[in-house]
């Protein structure tokens, strides 16, 4: 990875490598579609989880604030999109209007959550954010009475897909002799957004803001002494993480076409956290790897666990879903015990997490 990205040290190899990766990413959906459209959908969801993990990485990885209610922002973004682009209220705004609104609303919630919790220490913050995530879910579940806003546990259905004029992301179109199905179009859209988000994250990390977050993470008192406005910086981390979550939520809504509070339970928050921890807190590439690994794990498990159990015991003893959750749990514990800085650790984070053992 490093050799490919090192455009200065070895430009020829680097550009050739980047071009290869680029072509592979462009061809990928058709290869996946050959295996079945389901795989393209799974890939799209995996990219959404990369967004989420990168957003959470800003809060946990860069600024060192443990947020256990992150999925709430995803939920807010998803519901904003669903309510503004579905027959539920009979409002059908275009997606380029709603996604920024979703990001702004999620951002507002992020500040709302961040403001009262700024003075708190890490572990209190974890609990409060966890509680916040649950509050949002309980409200989504119950805000169907007395005025029906969220449609309660049934969720919102028939959500509009992305649409630019007559060009809808849901229809299949033939172009250059290739069939561009809905999921494939979303894939390209997500790929572009992903690229933008990666660039933003990398630039952010090396910016004045990124270094301020790092300073706060390592020693808040010292950071304040160095003239960093810790309150604003922490709020900014919350706000930015939340808006990433909001955007991802909006796209989730459009791609799925249906959302309900069930999609935004605590386990999802923990799953995103597991992705960040597994990949390496604070390292953008590590987080991407972690998110992709854990997103595809359930699919791989689905195709391996069942036959293996059938062969060994003659019947299904443990469902793949349960094994996946156990895997998440063990990933969190074992990573912290043996490789606390993650699979692809960021240099400073590694020093920080391993030095005191």
């Amino acid at each position: 990875m490093r050799a490919i990205l090192d455009t200065k040290g070895n430009p020829k190899l680097a550009w050739a490598g980047l071009a290869l990766v680029g072509i592979a990413l462009l061809v990928l959906p058709f290869a996946l579609a050959a295996m079945g459209t389901a795989w393209v959908r799974i890939t799209n969801l995996a990219i959404l989880f990369v967004f989420l993990a990168l957003g959470l990485n800003i809060v946990v990885g860069f600024a060192g604030l443990l947020d256990l209610g992150y999925i709430a922002f995803y939920a807010v973004g998803a519901y904003v999109y669903a309510l503004l682009a579905s027959p539920h209220f009979n409002i059908h705004l275009p997606f380029w209007v709603i996604l920024p609104i979703g990001a702004a609303v999620a951002c507002m919630f992020g500040v709302l959550l961040g403001a009262p919790t700024l003075k708190l220490r890490g572990d209190y913050l974890a609990i409060v954010t966890l509680g916040f995530g649950e509050i949002i879910r309980i409200f989504l579940n119950n805000l169907s009475q007395p005025v029906n806003i969220t449609n309660g546990p049934q969720g919102v259905t028939l959500i509009d897909p992305f649409r630019i004029g007559p060009f809808s992301f849901r229809d299949t179109e033939a172009f250059l002799g290739l069939a561009f199905s809905g999921p494939i179009k979303y894939y390209y859209f997500l790929l572009v957004v992903l690229l933008a988000i990666i660039v933003i994250n990398l630039r952010l990390q090396d910016s004045r803001i990124g270094r301020a977050w790092e300073a706060i993470r390592e020693d808040e008192v010292a950071a304040r002494a160095m003239g960093i406005n810790t309150r604003n910086m922490k709020l900014l981390a919350f706000a930015m993480g939340a808006s990433f979550g909001g955007i991802a939520g909006g796209m989730f809504s459009a791609i799925q076409g249906f959302i309900s509070p069930e999609s935004f339970i605590l386990l999802e928050s923990i799953m995103v956290l597991a992705m960040v921890v597994l990949g390496g807190m604070g390292n953008v590439w590590g987080v991407i790897v972690g998110a992709l690994l854990l997103s595809f794990a359930p699919e791989v498990l689905r195709y391996t666990v069942e036959p293996v159990q059938q062969a060994l015991f003659g019947r299904m003893l443990v469902e793949p879903e349960v094994i996946r959750m156990l895997l998440f749990g063990f990933a969190l514990v074992l990573m912290m015990l043996f490789r606390p800085a993650g699979l692809l650790p960021s240099a400073t984070r590694k020093r920080e997490l391993e030095v005191r053992r």
């Binding site: 060192g64 009262p116 916040f132 119950n142 956290l273 749990g329 063990f330 912290m336």
Partner: protein
């Protein structure tokens, strides 16, 4: 008035369970400043183990009085939960004692998921009906025949809770182990120099917390008549809120916080629907009045928001008095 008394009794019963679970959080926090996230799961395991024992004994038609069967369930659950608590500390927390705070917190979350799903594999994905072998008997508290009552189960829960709290207080303030625990909580290094085996004391703290948790699990199971592999999560969160409300690290605070939270929750659930009934304001708007004529209960927030109260209390406490009601000022150790 009867409704008020009834909710108060329900609240105190619930609160005493919260208090027992909160004690587990607060003891561990007091001694090593760690939020043992998996404590709720220990409570759940206690409820589940006792469930299995009770079902087995009741199903075998053992000639025992119902109370003895429940007691047997608890007696099996206690050592199991103690062992779970011990294992948690040994495997996941001890190696990380000097690591940054984020690390043990993340292992705790991981453990909590592992325990939940192991329980799901062993028992079931579905809620398990706790056998109602103890005949529920209600006693009237007021002259009103339809008024507030207290059941024998509620009385038993209160009595057991008070006994356990008293026992714990005696343990912490009267015994050598208690002195060692308090010394370790104050300063591990110095406690070690005074000849206290710090590792042993910390392990014992987890064991005691596990034992308390298991009894709480049995009480919740018998009270609500249901056990579920996810029951520990919300219960643990509420108990943690209770511990924070009372002042985390403070034993008396955990008890007070638990009781208060139980009462707040019961009264909140009992009255919030009535308080936010928009029909009180029916004369303000024509449309509202029409709706109220059809259905006199246009409730903004019903009792289905019960679970929100604990979190709101938690956030309010943390914002306005982070040290809790009885706690000392929390040093800012980031």
């Amino acid at each position: 008035m009867d409704i008020f008394i009834q909710q108060l009794i329900n609240g105190v019963t619930l609160g005493s369970v919260y208090a027992i679970v909160a004690l587990g959080y607060t003891m561990v926090y007091g001694i090593i400043q760690l939020i043992n996230f998996a404590h709720g799961e220990v409570v759940m395991i206690g409820a589940m183990v006792a469930y299995s024992v009770i079902v087995a004994l009741a199903g075998a038609g053992a000639p025992l009085p119902p109370l003895a069967i429940v007691l047997a369930g608890a007696l099996v659950a206690i050592p199991v939960c103690m062992a779970v608590g011990f294992t948690l500390e040994r495997v996941a927390y001890r190696p990380l004692r000097r690591a940054p705070r984020l690390a043990p917190l993340i292992t705790a979350i991981g453990l909590s998921i592992i325990l939940q799903h192991l329980a799901m594999i062993v028992w079931s994905r579905n809620p398990l009906p706790y056998p109602q072998i103890v005949k529920s008997v209600s006693y009237h508290l007021t002259g009103n025949p339809n008024g507030a009552t207290i059941t024998n189960v509620q009385i038993a829960i209160l009595a057991v809770s008070v006994a356990m709290m008293a026992g714990l207080m005696a343990l912490v303030y009267k015994t050598r182990l208690g002195i060692a625990m308090r010394a370790t909580a104050q300063n591990q290094a110095v406690a070690g120099l005074m000849g206290i085996d710090v590792n042993k004391v910390i392990a014992l703290t987890f064991v005691i917390a596990g034992g308390l948790g298991s009894v709480a699990g049995v009480m919740v199971g018998t009270y609500y008549g249901i056990a579920h592999y996810q029951m520990g999560f919300l219960l643990g969160l509420k108990a943690f809120s209770a511990a924070v409300l009372g002042g985390i690290g403070n034993l008396a605070g955990a008890m007070l916080g638990g009781m208060l939270l139980g009462i707040i929750e019961a009264l909140g659930a009992g009255y919030v629907g009535d308080l936010t009934n928009l029909c009180h304001f029916a004369d303000w708007s024509e449309a509202l009045a029409q709706r109220c004529a059809v259905d006199p209960n246009v409730v903004l927030f019903g009792s289905n928001y019960q679970d929100v109260f604990a979190f709101i209390v938690l956030i309010l406490v943390l914002v306005f008095r982070p040290s809790g009601l009885l706690g000392e000022r929390v040093a800012d150790r980031a």
